[in-house]
Subunit: 498 residues, 2 copies
Amino acid sequence: MNLNNALQELELLQKRLYAYHYAQASINVDGETIAPSGSAPGRGIALGILAGEEQRLMTGEETGRLLDYLGEHLDELDFVRRRQVEELKREYEYVSKVPADEYMEYARLLNESSDVWHKAKIADDFPMFLPALEKVIEYTRRFAAYYDDSKSPYDVLLDRYERGASQEYLDGFFADVRSKLVPLIQAISEKPQIDDSFVHRFYPIPVQRQFSDYLMQVMDLDRAHCTIGETEHPFTQELWNGDVRITTNYTDHNLIDSMYSVIHEGGHAKYELGIRDDLQYTVLSGGVSMGVHESQSRFYENIIGRSEPFITAIYPEIRELFPDQLDGISPHSLFLAVNKVQPSLVRVEADEVTYPLHIMVRYEIEKRLMSGELKPADIPGVWNEMYKEYLGLDVPSDRDGCLQDSHWSTGLIGYFPSYALGSAYGAQMLHNMQQEFDVWESVAKGDLSRVTAWLHERIHQYGSLYTPQQIVEKACGQFDPGYYTRYLTEKYSKIYGL
Amino acid sequence: MNLNNALQELELLQKRLYAYHYAQASINVDGETIAPSGSAPGRGIALGILAGEEQRLMTGEETGRLLDYLGEHLDELDFVRRRQVEELKREYEYVSKVPADEYMEYARLLNESSDVWHKAKIADDFPMFLPALEKVIEYTRRFAAYYDDSKSPYDVLLDRYERGASQEYLDGFFADVRSKLVPLIQAISEKPQIDDSFVHRFYPIPVQRQFSDYLMQVMDLDRAHCTIGETEHPFTQELWNGDVRITTNYTDHNLIDSMYSVIHEGGHAKYELGIRDDLQYTVLSGGVSMGVHESQSRFYENIIGRSEPFITAIYPEIRELFPDQLDGISPHSLFLAVNKVQPSLVRVEADEVTYPLHIMVRYEIEKRLMSGELKPADIPGVWNEMYKEYLGLDVPSDRDGCLQDSHWSTGLIGYFPSYALGSAYGAQMLHNMQQEFDVWESVAKGDLSRVTAWLHERIHQYGSLYTPQQIVEKACGQFDPGYYTRYLTEKYSKIYGL
């Protein structure tokens, strides 16, 4: 082997990994969108095999030899290639630890559990989902031990989704968040409630679709490279920086559910579409971590999307789409309505302030599941207790309780904390952005280009070229959750006149 | 290696091939349906790599050794496995002859040429499509020579789509068809024309979608296993016998274009959905040949779908969907309208009698392209001349001329004759079916179950378990194109009172 050969092999290896990633992503998008309801078995077999092929390639002898060779010649590589080798080595060591048959079996299981979860949620039938969930939990714990048995399984998973995160770290983070937000929510609850009844008038879905088109235009999402579909649970799936899919979910008696899904998923899409061309078809394409990804989606959704300048800027268009429903409603009333704080059952419909409490419930449950302290069968009971304790709510059905999120059915355990971390990163980014230009002046014109340019410069363009910590540092400086709780306290004190 | 191991490997090899087929099919369906317009480059890279991975697997040393071993133990295998080995060996020998890099390059090219064709058709711009088409033709000729340089390239391709077909055979077939149909068309043209003006009234697309739902119900196509989408060029894509996708294309000023697309693609779908479970995930799943596949789609479309008993049976539902448009129109008038014979420009809209002439144009052009006698740049001129000669029509634009079909852009050269052969098989199947039960009595009740059961018993269930010739023989007996020309002559003599 010489360096030239090795670099060619490096490029080909990454293109092959890209093709497997692409195939699985495309099949999953299809499964979530237009595939017929009885199509899961054949899809599961295909996905299982493809996961196996990918693992076989990743852990093969040729790959090992190539990475060893390049590891010995790191000094001769440019920065981009050095990072490719580093990330490939990390993945190689990771994936090599799982036996091939279990890896394929797990991919098949996830297709099945995702299918069962959909059906169980519709039927409001947790026991229907339980056997699949038990298997997912069992696999997840076993894989975590394969990866690193010197750490607790949950710490392994947390680190996988947000490098550097751990229970110790997140316990502190959430304790801080709780100590600031619980009194804030208490103070808000003692104030007169915001009237948001007009949000629940009849909003015909075809017109909501036009509204989504408008929102994508405001976010400058190029439809030649980004489609919008409709699924039970909204998601973003990137294929490459020229092809990203987002989905939303409409209900005809709610103006803002889909609106904020579109802006949230649109934020993920902006990130993926903005990644540099020279990182495509390599392991460095794709957002750097789940926390950073959620920082982008939630930045657009909450910090921009729920700001008064933004609502005021887009109000004329909303009013034109829904003239009767918004008759007599001012932009300020709409701004207040989209920021109404009220403990609620469903995470994706939660307001900005109670949102982290939804995450804490899931974090606490995942912790106990992974330690073995909690059995999957007991999730509904614990879930309902915690919603009572943290949010003061009785959960009337598992559909709006522990069956509401797709994450566990797709193996995403340890992912939820990224949402809260992402929100916290975002607040600090806003602070830093404000040092450089008047964010609200440009947003008030309905122009998000400066905001996007700032995020693009520090985050989007790099994909995974830097580590998650380096990216967070580029955009936040030294991370400090205090910005997040101060941002929420200031914003909502003003809204509620505290 | 022992036999047990070898049989396990045989199963796994076929599952892996299935997964690659599934991935590429799924990505192609996505590309044709919901993918954003600018997404082709990344898709092309993924498809190129996946085609390469599939070829690498198919032609690998392990596969060769396995097939050699099993070839020596054919006597010890049951019939199904013996056939799997035979078909795998055939494919192994076929695919091994193409250099790996060319194979991948060709897959990438097809993605690109398909994309360019879409754009060129919309823009009515043949020169835009020409460079890609030239490359496709060049690759096709080269690959044909790799496969078998003892035969002319076009004979190699014809045999690939319909085993046993050759230019000699098809020249005879088409000469026979032409000698019978040209006088028939001439005689029809001297009769008063059928009034089908009501077919071109305004038929709102949302109601046409409901009509499609009804047609799928009549064909007993289970929506849990068969979706319907909308694309410029209708197609059927099977993933496995539990997941088939069909598409159609609506225009709001035509009642029957989409109707017959749905029935046609529905016929393909019935075939794939009816293949035996024990053949799934093997090389024997999937219809046996293009000709047999087209015999099924065109049987449902024309022989059943354009029959008076069928039209009379479904008329009440059509009338309910389109009461104003069909005011004063009798079932018999509709039957006449869907069978109006009139030379036209667009193949997929052609009537049953002039249809084979459209195929002959393509067959003649493909013959000359493959022999090198005709340059791709000269296609439009020759196309237009032949439409004048065979159909008496001036072609006003390439969009409705040589750009109308997607086939060449996706590498399907040598495929068109299957449509005509399939029609001919179907007429003979009808004859045989009639010997066993009164086809029209059950169709008149709107009940296609006996027809489907007959086709299922002789064709659908077997997938590729038997050779194309064996399947044709099961359903037709000794194939004789005379049944086809007699069927057309009798049907249309009655309609036009010849």
